[in-house]
Symmetry: C2
Subunit: 234 residues, 2 copies
DNA sequence: CGGGTAATTGACTCACCTCAAGCTAGGTGG
DNA sequence: CCACCTAGCTTGAGGTGAGTCAATTACCCG
């Protein structure tokens, strides 16, 4: 308790989470294009590389075998990944990918083979630090998602999702500092619902409600954030 | 697709997640004792060290400012940490702890100063690999928690919690391979509920129900797992 | 033995799920 | 160019699992 610092404002922290792997160094990693709807990798595949999104957007989908075996396994979108975010980190511990990564729009990724990555990090302290920071940020992100799913009502979840998404858009696109007000959501209501632990109908209803209340403009997947305060509070 | 391996069984994976940091090397890190109920660290504090639990048990608690500011912030137990598990990883990205770590019983931790850790990992490949594996495992754990909170009904959550806890007890205590059947839960129903995104009354009801159905023996915080299959399925 | 924290159980409520119907938009082929 | 078709979205009506409130019991520690 030596500094009178902010009590861990998660919104602020989320911006701080935004770190780039391997952009300081000039190593020419190869890239790969992925069509909309295609998988960058699938759960169970051996981990060969980590991927940094250059352009486009992905969702990661995890499955958990259902309680009664015959019924469908529990499945959930565990994250959306925009430009400059890194994919595949969850596979390091087992050497296998723990989830599917599906492109939500035509996307390009930078490929960083894991075999190269570790030696590289042993050489360059900055790079090692960056990798650790990114992984730590991913832990925080996942924990925060869990917190959201555990404690917030539907309406707050949807609002928080929109705010988070707009800030990450801003972070990846321009560096204006101002979060984006116009969002073009690349995912379906069903994807959002899965991510937020809600049914797609509930997501739709909450979006309509936020629209009626004047917090957002809404036209299909185009969302305009009108009143940030109204979204944050209440 | 070169190996016909298990399709990412999360239960199995969870055991694989169990990795020890800095136990191969003979570096004499100092230790620290923490009384039951005391905090090992608090959210917002600068990150000085990572901690490996030597004995005892901790819970980590995260706070998220509430939607309307005047009311209490959302708060949730984000994890329970037994022997050999590492605490503090979520703080690496911001340099500040993102949660409180509270001892649930008298505990001892091994202290690993972060300033030493990174250079050490640059020197020893095995240690670096271990650290990355632990962090990755933490990502998987958090994602899986989110999945659970997003998709499973109360009864399954409680059952999954008991199974997970018993396996981790086994992993940390003896190396028998057989998961523990007798659990002495160190946390309250409220803690469990917070972790699982349920009210403490619901946790209590589900435990009673599992008891009535013959899946578990139940006597306060002492739980005996009678019928694993019944817990897993249905 | 007494006081306070933790756990159990019941009755009632409500937020979200489920099921169902209709709508909209974009792409495709006749 | 339009008709169709599918996937996605919206909205309504009704059911239900978990939350809320409240009362009682069990337990631990001083």
């Amino acid at each position: 308790m030596d500094t009178p610092i902010e009590p861990a404002n998660p919104r602020a922290a989320l911006s701080a989470l935004h770190v780039r792997l391997a952009d300081a160094d000039a190593i020419p990693f190869p890239t790969r294009s992925v069509e909309r709807g295609d998988a960058l990798y699938c759960a169970g595949e051996p981990l060969r590389s980590l991927y940094t999104v250059q352009s486009g957007c992905f969702k990661t989908v995890a499955a958990y075998p259902s309680a009664d075996d015959d019924s469908a396994p529990h499945t959930q979108v565990t994250g959306f990944h925009l430009t400059d975010e890194t994919l595949g980190l969850d596979g390091i511990c087992t050497g296998r990918h723990e989830s599917d990564a599906i492109a939500l729009e035509p996307s390009v990724v930078r490929i960083m083979p894991v075999g190269i990555l570790e030696p590289l990090c042993r050489e360059y302290a900055a790079m090692q630090h960056e990798l650790l920071a990114i992984m730590s940020a991913e832990i925080v992100r996942a924990s925060r998602l869990a917190l959201m799913l555990g404690t917030m009502p539907a309406r707050e979840r949807v609002a928080a999702f929109l705010l988070d998404f707009s800030e990450r858009l801003e972070a990846s696109a321009d560096a204006s500092g101002e979060p984006a007000a116009e969002l073009q959501l690349p995912m379906t209501r069903g994807d959002i619902g899965s991510y937020l632990g809600l049914e797609l109908e509930t997501v739709s209803r909450m979006l309509s409600k936020l629209h009626r209340e004047g917090a957002i403009g809404l036209n299909g997947r185009a969302v305009r954030i009108v009143d940030r305060a109204l979204l944050q509070h209440n």
